[in-house]
């Protein structure tokens, strides 16, 4: 790690009425790494994503991105700084064709500024990005309405929507959920390539085996609290984690 972390979350808390969804969570994200966030259902993982990306305002705590305190910023402002996310529930712009889904992020101020008026044919750029995330160019898939695409393509489309923004950090909220083993196996090289290209990622996941192929640092949440952090081996051997999360799964 060189110097300042890319993203720093300090004493972050959020309560919805009497429910403490996220409680006093601290972690850092270094540039270029893939950080896994795991935890049982209802442990506050998605709330954490919503907090970091500005969809939900934290009760207390701060979030610092690239040295700027982004706590309380609106989602589009945070996205324009280069921090974007996928959604757990896939809802594409279903009435638009797949490639037109990408026209939306390509019209963001961030892309306009970084491209500096040299974006060229925006439709062609969108189709290039779709090819990058695994849409066959020759097939008519990019021209189909997004509402008619199968789940595997929707996940790729969601990643494409993030990539189109030319982000520095992507937070993936359960991209593997609902996919078959073969679909996951074809998605993993894509995520690895994104990391090689310099994109930092946080992966919220339930599929641990697949997650551990990608990451070497994991944060564990239970009932909104961070109970462990470290390499997959360290975390898995932690008794507290086993009790909270893996106990039932390892029972033979």
């Amino acid at each position: 790690m060189d110097g300042e972390p890319l993203l720093q979350v300090t004493r972050l808390s959020k309560s919805f009425g009497g429910v403490q969804a996220v409680m006093n969570v601290n972690f850092q994200l270094a540039k270029g790494e893939i950080l896994g966030v795991i935890g049982p259902n209802g442990s506050g993982k998605t709330t954490l994503v919503n907090l970091i990306t500005g969809f939900v305002k934290p009760t207390t705590g701060t979030i610092t991105f690239k040295g700027v305190d982004i706590t309380g910023f609106s989602p589009h402002k945070i996205a324009n700084m280069g921090l974007t996310r996928t959604f757990q529930v896939m809802r594409p712009y279903h009435s638009l064709s797949a490639y037109k889904n990408l026209i939306v992020p390509l019209n963001s101020p961030r892309v306009r500024k970084t491209a500096g008026g040299t974006l060229g044919d925006i439709d062609a750029v969108a189709i290039d990005i779709l090819e990058e995330v695994g849409f066959e160019r020759d097939a008519r898939v990019p021209y189909k309405t997004a509402g008619s695409l199968p789940l595997g393509y929707l996940k790729r489309l969601e990643l494409g929507r993030c990539i189109a923004l030319r982000p520095e950090v992507i937070i993936c909220d359960e991209v593997f959920s609902g996919l078959s083993m073969s679909e996951i196996s074809s998605l993993i090289p894509l995520l690895e390539r994104l990391r090689m290209e310099g994109i930092t990622m946080i992966m919220i996941e339930h599929r641990l085996r697949e997650l551990f192929r990608l990451t070497n640092r994991v944060v564990v949440l239970t009932f909104g609290q961070k109970i462990a952090e470290g390499t997959p081996e360290e975390v898995m051997s932690n008794q507290q984690v086993r009790d909270a999360y893996l106990g039932t799964e390892t029972k033979k």
Partner: protein, 336 residues
């Protein structure tokens, strides 16, 4: 009647498939296929006043105003996802601004109409911006409230002529100016909006309608985009209002009448939602129909409703969607 073992199948006409990418257009037949519907619409609208008498020409003018409102409603509802029942507010804002500028500053309609269009749309947008975070029915209810709100303010404070209104405003020099001003406005806004919805801005707006969270995560300020869309729809309505007050040389609280909020919706249902041209067609059918039924007195409303219900039951997609399908596709019977 259909037998059980067969069903209807719809296929795109080959000429439609060929003309989908415009570069492929090679023959007069294909160009005609593309431009004929547009030519029929534009020429039809432009020639219509020539065959009508004085009375029906006036009806045509108000049909044009309803058509503008209906285009705006359709644009907001089907391309942005905002069901806006504030059409009467647009008419009222445009009408009052134009009328007051004419009454107190003696500006000619040549200036008051453009000023009222832009200023009125600006005010309407400012009023609606706080409600933009509401969705669906909630936005509809709140936007419906604003015309009533404006009426009560005018009555309570007794400003702008109060309940009496202001009469003897400047009118248009002759009937042809009246007719072709509103028809030109309808045609221009129709084609401009059709263009807009297929451009990048239209795509972003459609994205907001389908999933606003994903649009926000894509770095786009949805409030700014929605405000722009409301402003555009309000421009049409406010132009209609400004035109209306100069058409009759009169302004009053009935510019905020509920008709201006409701009739455009009926026109959209009848004409076909989401087509932009359908609502125009709907307005040009419904407004004269409502006039023609005047002879039935109170029964008029009942007949009017029956016709609308008939449409909802037998042609819920609207006239334009049905016509487009007939034009672009043919039906064959298929063995099951």
């Amino acid at each position: 009647m259909e037998s059980k073992s067969r069903r209807k199948k719809r296929l795109d006409r080959s000429i439609k498939v060929r003309t989908e990418g415009l570069y492929a257009v090679t023959s007069w037949a294909e160009m005609g296929y593309l431009f004929m519907p547009r030519a029929v619409l534009v020429l039809g609208l432009l020639l219509l006043p020539l065959v009508l008498d004085m009375y029906w020409q006036r009806v045509l003018c108000s049909a044009g105003i309803y058509a503008l409102l209906a285009i705006g409603f359709d644009f907001l509802a089907e391309c942005v996802g905002l069901v806006c029942l504030g059409g009467a507010f647009f008419i009222g804002a445009g009408g009052y601004i134009a009328g007051l500028l004419n009454e107190y500053f003696h500006w000619s309609p040549l200036i008051t109409i453009p000023v009222a269009t832009v200023l009125g749309a600006g005010i309407s947008t400012l009023v609606l911006v706080p409600c933009l975070r509401l969705r669906g029915i909630y936005f509809a209810i709140v936007s419906f409230m604003f015309p009533l709100f404006a009426v009560f303010i005018i009555i309570a404070l007794n400003v702008f002529g109060g309940t009496e209104g202001i009469t003897a405003l400047d009118t248009f020099p002759n009937v042809w100016v009246e007719l072709y001003l509103i028809l030109a406005a309808v045609i221009i806004s129709l084609f401009a909006l059709r263009r807009l919805v297929s451009e990048d801005m239209g795509i972003v707006l459609r994205g907001i309608m389908d999933n606003d969270q994903a649009v926000r995560a894509s770095g786009i300020n949805i409030t700014a985009y929605k405000s722009k869309a409301v402003f555009i729809a309000a421009l049409l309505g406010c132009f209609g209002g400004a035109y209306l007050s100069h058409l009759y040389g009169w302004l009053g609280i009935s510019l905020f009448a509920m008709d201006f909020s409701i009739l455009p919706i009926a026109a959209c249902v009848m004409g076909g939602m989401g087509t932009l041209v359908g609502p125009v067609l709907g307005a040009f059918i419904l407004t004269p129909m409502s006039e023609a039924l005047r002879g039935f007195g109170q029964l008029r409303v009942v007949l009017y409703c029956l016709i609308l219900i008939g449409f909802m039951v037998y042609k819920p997609e609207g006239i334009m969607n049905a016509l487009q399908r007939k034009y672009h596709q043919f039906e064959v019977w298929e063995e099951v």
